[in-house]
């Protein structure tokens, strides 16, 4: 046994795992430094025993549960955003590849120069560094993701705003507090379902990550 392993065992011991290794004791006989560390550890544990056990505030459990739920909601939002971005990227890439070049005619107000000319002109004067193949691919992913986000905002966003502006019909409101929905059992059932589904959802997320790993959108999304 060397000092590093002895130190790791001591750390585990401080975390609550008893040390049952005769090699460790043998090492302490030989190594003064580790012996002094082990003795300091023992003193620390003894001292901690005399301290009064902290009493958790009454609301701690609620706060933890709330925090965990909030964290879970955030994780779900992140996941949804990642999926949405992934899908948007895939759809946009398909659309871009499908339609882009074969659209006849020049776009209104667009530059009539050829792509080659544009590329040449862009680099003239600025002495811009020529990007590598990977950088070009990353840039492509970035541009397509931004384009799809802008288009989504332009179309879906506007519609969503409009729909949210439409007022709901106003009927007399009666507060029926007694009509409590069966939230607790339903939550219990949905938790069982989502816990069972967890391996599938985790794998789906990992699969998307795996195939999008090389694209820059991942960091942008988060």
């Amino acid at each position: 046994m060397n000092c590093r392993i002895a130190y790791d065992l001591l750390q585990e011991n401080l975390d609550g795992t008893p040390i049952e290794s005769p090699e460790w004791l043998a090492h302490l006989h030989q190594c003064a430094e580790c012996r002094s560390l082990a003795s300091a550890g023992r003193r620390l544990q003894d001292g901690l025993r005399y301290l009064a056990a902290p009493v958790p505030p009454r609301s701690l459990v609620e706060r933890i549960v709330e925090g965990v739920l909030l964290d879970r909601r955030r994780a779900r939002r992140r996941l949804r955003r990642r999926w949405a971005l992934g899908l948007a990227l895939a759809a946009s890439l398909l659309l871009a590849l499908t339609w882009r070049l074969n659209w006849q005619g020049t776009p209104v107000g667009s530059d009539s120069r050829s792509p080659e000319q544009m590329a040449k002109n862009t680099s003239i004067g600025t002495e811009k560094k020529v990007p590598t193949l990977r950088e070009s691919a990353s840039e492509l992913g970035e541009v397509v993701a931004e384009l799809s986000n802008e288009t989504a905002e332009e179309t879906v966003g506007q519609t969503r705003r409009w729909v949210s502006n439409v007022p709901s019909p106003t009927l007399p409101w009666v507060d029926l507090a007694a009509m409590e929905p069966p939230t607790q059992p339903l939550r219990e059932a949905s938790e069982g379902l989502s816990e069972g589904l967890e391996p599938v959802t985790t794998s789906a997320r990992r699969a998307v990550d795996l195939f999008l790993r090389e694209l820059p959108m991942e960091t942008k999304a988060n």
Binding site: T98, L147, N165, Q184, E191, A207
Partner: protein, 609 residues
């Protein structure tokens, strides 16, 4: 034909034998040829026990069809597309394309048509339970032109070597088949990236970060006979995704170990739900999601295939009921803005939910439902006595109010014009009193009367100057109740309820109640027909918004403090967006052991010339 008769009908045994051999050979070869689509060529190489398999096929064909379609033409003129095409980012794409073309000798069109145009497959296999990092991914593609593909790979390798991004490219062999290991260097982190492996044979390219995965592809390629259908291809065919542009297959068997481990390790208080989930999961055979552009619509499908006999009996009842079309669809107008409906066995659903709960949880569920509802209905056991008699047919319909024919001679009051935009909403639920011994109709109507009087009491106390009242009327000889109050309710709005033709109907106007009793003639749908679940008619939304523009603008200005002009602009923008889509339909098609839910988006212009 004469030759056929001579060979088959004649006495020459040898000729007959020859003919049969040729016939057999034709059948066999035609089946092989039929099977050898680019998609199936790739799916045969997909290693076993992958969890997800995504297939994109015939991108070239779909692109060619779409480009010349009236829908693409309509889209080209759309302001957001014009804006996008004129944006700097769009121009940036031009620049990137020219850079890529310079380096790789390919533009987008050739990349789409020659490289990605036939088929692309992405497959994923998760790590073993607790070892997610052991996951494996694979990309397969079949190019139209193998020379273009080989040149592209060669150029990528060459360019990346020159740019210092490709550190090593080494040849490896597996059973004599050559594949390559690429080691890339990340200039940003100044570290080597994980190696990538690729295998190129003719027009087929396989790429993976895991050597073992790639070797399995090589193994499949060596052994592939060409006549057997791969599991992925079979699963996609079973769930009607054979021709889809994009299809994703989920293989439940790849998660069995994870689901079992989850069920075994979940603490006892939460174990009921996870164990029940495992029961359903084991019965599941495959799940397929697909996207298919067709002549005049785009179909998104979600198919599930399962061994129904292994499902709990409540789930079997639930699916069996859902597989039949509801009679309510014959009562909803074709021009409904939105209609939803189906057959739902709520008692079976409650049992399905109960399966995911502990005995205590089930008891709480029944108690929580019984406490308020049973009290309202003056019954003790809502879930036991009344729930089985409610349904299975249910439906919701939103329709435009009857069009106001303007008479230039008579002036319509301003208030009336402003309020006439409210669409009619109707909810219907089948009530089958034969399923319970209780006097269900009377119980339900009493409860609704009570609720209505409660609402009236609350309202009239708050608004003594504009009271509402409960009135009675008759629709098709059946008694209905409605709320009346000229100054409290929008013009035309008369919230009403009643039992009509065996349905409990709740609606926002008497007019839609009358319409409900008019059943359109039609034969009962066959079991092969898709069962409708949801329908949104954007065409009718357009008509509704155009006809009631003034009233809707009034509602918007009141609610959102918008100016009339701004409200008008918002309506015009929304109307413009609605021009692209005609109809959206959600339906389900069931056959033994499987169900496919399809969302069909019918475009205003055809997707094919």
């Amino acid at each position: 034909m004469r030759l056929f008769n001579r060979l088959v009908g004649g006495s020459c045994f040898f000729a007959r034998l020859c003919f049969l051999c040729v016939l057999c050979a034709c059948v066999v070869s035609s089946s092989v040829l039929r099977a050898a689509t680019p998609r199936e060529e790739l799916l045969r190489l997909v290693p076993d026990s992958v969890a997800f398999c995504a297939v994109i096929q015939d991108l070239r064909g779909h692109a060619a069809t779409l480009q010349t379609s009236p829908f693409a033409e309509q889209l080209r003129q759309a302001p957001f597309v014009v804006k996008m095409r004129n944006s700097d980012k769009w121009k940036k794409l031009d620049q990137i394309e020219s850079e890529m073309k310079e380096k790789l000798g390919l533009d987008w069109k050739r990349l789409r048509d020659d490289i990605l145009g036939d088929a692309v497959v992405l497959a994923y296999r998760p790590g073993s339970p607790g070892q997610p990092q052991q996951e494996q991914g694979l990309m397969l593609l079949r190019a139209r032109n193998e020379k273009v593909l080989a040149d592209l790979i060669e150029r990528i390798n060459k360019v990346q070597k020159e740019e210092g991004e490709l550190k090593e490219l080494t040849e490896r062999r597996h059973y004599g088949m050559v594949y390559y290991r690429r080691l890339e260097y990340d200039k940003q982190t100044q570290q080597d990236k994980p190696p990538t492996f690729y295998y190129l044979r003719g027009p087929i390219l396989a790429v993976s970060e895991q050597e073992s995965m790639l070797r399995q592809v090589v193994d499949h390629d060596r052994r592939s006979s060409g006549s057997t259908e791969s599991e992925a291809a079979r699963r996609l065919r079973e769930l009607d995704a054979e021709q889809a542009l994009l299809a994703v297959w989920l293989n439940p068997r790849a998660f069995d170990a994870d689901v079992d481990a989850k069920a075994a390790n979940t603490p006892a208080e939460r174990a009921a739900g996870v164990k029940q989930f495992a029961l359903y999961w084991k019965a599941l055979e495959s799940v397929v999601f697909s996207l298919s552009p067709r002549e005049s619509d785009i179909k998104l499908s979600f198919g599930v295939r399962a061994r129904v006999a292994e499902l709990p009996s409540a789930a079997q009842r639930l699916f069996r009921e859902g597989a039949t079309a509801s009679d309510l669809w014959r009562r909803f107008p074709q021009s409904a803005l939105l209609a939803a409906g189906g057959r739902f066995d709520s008692a079976a659903f409650l049992d399905v939910i109960g399966g995911f709960l502990t005995p205590q949880g089930r008891k709480t569920l029944h108690e929580t439902l019984n406490r308020p509802v049973a009290a309202l209905l003056a019954e003790e056991d809502f879930t036991g006595d009344l729930l089985p008699a409610l349904g299975p047919d249910w439906g919701l319909c939103l329709s435009a109010p009857t069009r106001q024919i303007r008479n230039p001679k008579s002036e319509i009051r301003k208030a009336e014009v402003e309020n006439q935009g409210m669409p009619n909403i109707l909810f219907a639920l089948r009530v089958d009193a034969s399923r319970t011994k209780k006097a269900l109709e009377r119980t339900l109507l009493s409860a609704l009367d009570f609720a209505a009087r409660f609402v009236i009491l609350a309202h009239n106390n708050q608004h003594p100057d504009s009271p509402i009242a409960l009135k009675t009327s008759a629709v098709n000889g059946q008694e209905v109740r409605y709320l009346a109050g000229e100054r409290s309710l929008p013009t035309g709005a008369q919230p009403a309820y009643g039992l009509l033709d065996g349905y409990l109907v709740l609606t926002s106007s008497l007019e839609s109640m009358k319409r409900f009793t008019q059943v359109s003639p039609g034969s009962s749908p066959s079991s092969e027909d898709p069962v409708p679940l949801l329908r949104i008619s954007f065409k009718d939304w357009r008509s509704y918004l155009t006809d009631h523009r003034e009233a809707v603008a009034h509602l918007l200005t009141e609610h959102d403090q918008l100016s009339r002009d701004e409200a008008g602009r918002q309506i015009d923008g929304f109307l413009y967006a609605l021009r692209f889509v005609e109809r959206l339909e959600l339906s389900q098609r069931s056959s033994p052991g499987q169900v496919i839910f399809s969302l069909t988006v019918q475009t205003a212009q055809a997707l094919k010339k």
